[in-house]
């Protein structure tokens, strides 16, 4: 009899105590607004810097002379699990009169890319890298199909 009455009140005591501990935790954060963790995204674009290894999308590096390193060997195409990369190659006749394979278009289908990063180590000439850009949203699906070599660009000298 007394045991059960004691239990009744001790139950209430432990219950109220546990609830107050919980309220203490949340209450702490109300009165410490400096600990707020969220950020204002489009406003903080200037400070927002992604880590340099972040895999945003595949880009082709061009130097100041509008030259890239891609030989059109299709190693990245073979390494890609999803058929994201499509290389349209062309033949160029150089000064010595030899035919040489160059790229006409390096087509990159962003909509199919899973950002696995397998194409980057596959490239023998380090022509492509992953950029840190993560804002891929566009209004038209066709804009996701990108041509990575810039118009008028040509292969760097000495890259085979």
């Amino acid at each position: 009899m007394f045991k059960s009455i004691y239990n009744y009140f001790s139950d209430i005591y432990t219950a109220v105590r546990s609830l107050l501990t919980g309220m203490k935790v949340t209450g702490h954060y109300v009165f410490h607004p400096k600990e707020i963790i969220t950020q204002q995204y489009p406003e903080n674009r200037d400070e927002l810097k992604m880590f340099d290894r972040f895999r945003g999308e595949v880009v082709m590096l061009h130097d100041e002379n509008n030259e890239h390193k891609c030989t059109g060997c299709s190693a990245c195409d073979v390494a890609c699990p999803n058929g994201t990369i499509e290389i349209i190659s062309d033949w160029e006749i150089n000064e010595e009169g030899k035919k040489k394979k160059i790229i006409d278009k390096f087509v990159y289908h962003l909509q199919m890319c899973t950002m696995c990063g397998l194409c980057i180590p596959a490239c023998p000439t380090d022509a492509i890298v992953m950029s840190e850009d993560f804002e891929h949203a566009v209004f038209d699906r066709s804009k996701l199909t990108k041509v990575l070599n810039k118009p008028g660009s040509k292969i760097m000298d000495g890259i085979k």
Partner: protein
């Protein structure tokens, strides 16, 4: 008109209301005067509802954000202050949808039931001295009776939606409100033992020399806690939001509502929160009565300098904040635990408390 402006006194609204009444009586017959007064009060309350809805939804979102280490709405207006206006416009423009085979009449009626119940209840809330639409001798009883009418709307909404989730939600709500009505009533009754009156203005007058929560010893404090818990349950707010229970019943009784009809439920929930906080402030914390400390004349004078309406709003905000604190901390109860809490804990405690309080009042031990 100048006569009216001269009568404005933020410490006492009685002269102003009296002057309006006199001015109307001069030119109209008593019946039309009452009618015009009713229309004025109605417009005033509709405006108040809008403002309350806008302010309290914003406050809820900001407070929730603070509890959760977030910033909350920040985009629309300065610190997101215009966010709720944008939301209201969105709700106005939304298409009112209805499920196939829904009971059209009841489906459309339900939101009005809920909002009218809040309208009826807010009429008796004393905002400041002389600023009260209905002040009659059973004010407290009237509020308790009327505020539970809203459950009919919830039951209708759940039944007419032709959705099993809604039905489960509304049935839960019915069981919940019927049970918790008891505790709210009894905890207020505990204080009525002390005040000796049900008239809200007199309850406030009786707290001239100190609020009942301080004057009434521990029983008053227990009654206050019970009132807070029970009224949170009556409001269908977390941790007692079983009628909505978004992780179990998607949105409970208002699953099928959209647009303005949904916003009626939403608005009623927040206005009810205000009303409950107002009753709590009136009965336990002295309503618009400033904070007075015994014989400290200087201190009391400074406190009197703050207008009563601000005292009232501050107390209401305090209670609302505590109820929000509950919501953003605790997990939801299950329906059987909810009823256990009421019938095995709150009700017996309340009954013992009321006996203790009666004894205290009889012996005159309260201050």
């Amino acid at each position: 008109m100048n006569r009216l402006i001269l009568k404005i006194n933020i410490y006492d609204f009685t002269p102003l209301t009296q002057a309006i009444h006199d001015a109307l009586s001069e030119s109209f017959s008593p019946g039309i005067t009452t009618l015009i007064e009713m229309v004025i009060i109605g417009i005033a309350f509709i405006t108040l509802f809008t403002i309350l809805g806008l302010v309290m939804v914003y406050a809820e979102r900001k407070v929730a954000a603070l509890f959760q280490q977030r910033l909350g709405p920040m985009r629309v207006g300065f610190f997101g202050t215009a966010q709720t206006i944008a939301d209201a416009i969105k709700l106005l423009l939304k298409e009112p949808l209805m499920t196939k085979n829904a009971d059209k009449f009841l489906f459309n009626l339900a939101p009005f039931f809920v909002i009218i119940a809040s309208f009826l209840a807010i009429a008796a809330v004393p905002f400041a001295k002389g600023l009260q639409a209905l002040d009659f001798n059973i004010g407290l009883f009237y509020i308790v009776a009327v505020s539970s009418l809203g459950v009919i709307g919830i039951l209708l909404a759940g039944w007419s939606s032709n959705n099993k989730y809604s039905l489960i939600g509304s049935m839960r709500s019915g069981a919940q409100i019927v049970s918790y009505e008891l505790s709210v009533g009894l905890s207020l009754l505990t204080m009525v033992v002390l005040t000796g009156t049900l008239q809200l203005s007199e309850i406030i007058e009786s707290q001239q020399d100190g609020w009942w929560i301080f004057k009434g010893h521990i029983p008053a404090f227990i009654a206050f806690i019970v009132f807070l818990v029970a009224s949170t349950a009556e409001l269908n707010r977390g941790p007692f939001d079983l009628a909505e229970a978004e992780s179990e019943l998607t949105a409970g009784f208002h699953t099928e509502y959209s647009g303005m009809k949904f916003s009626f439920f939403f608005l009623a929930e927040f206005v009810n929160l205000f009303i409950v906080a107002a009753i709590g402030a009136t009965v336990f914390l002295g309503g618009w009565m400033p904070f007075h400390l015994g014989n400290w004349e200087g201190f009391n004078l400074i406190m009197d300098f703050v207008p009563p309406i601000f005292w009232f709003l501050a107390k209401v905000s305090f209670i609302i904040f505590i109820i929000m604190w509950f919501k953003w901390t605790f997990p939801r109860l299950r329906i059987d635990q909810l009823l256990t809490l009421e019938w095995k804990y709150l009700l017996p405690i309340n009954l013992v408390n009321i006996v203790v309080m009666a004894f205290i009042a009889m012996q005159g031990w309260h201050f």
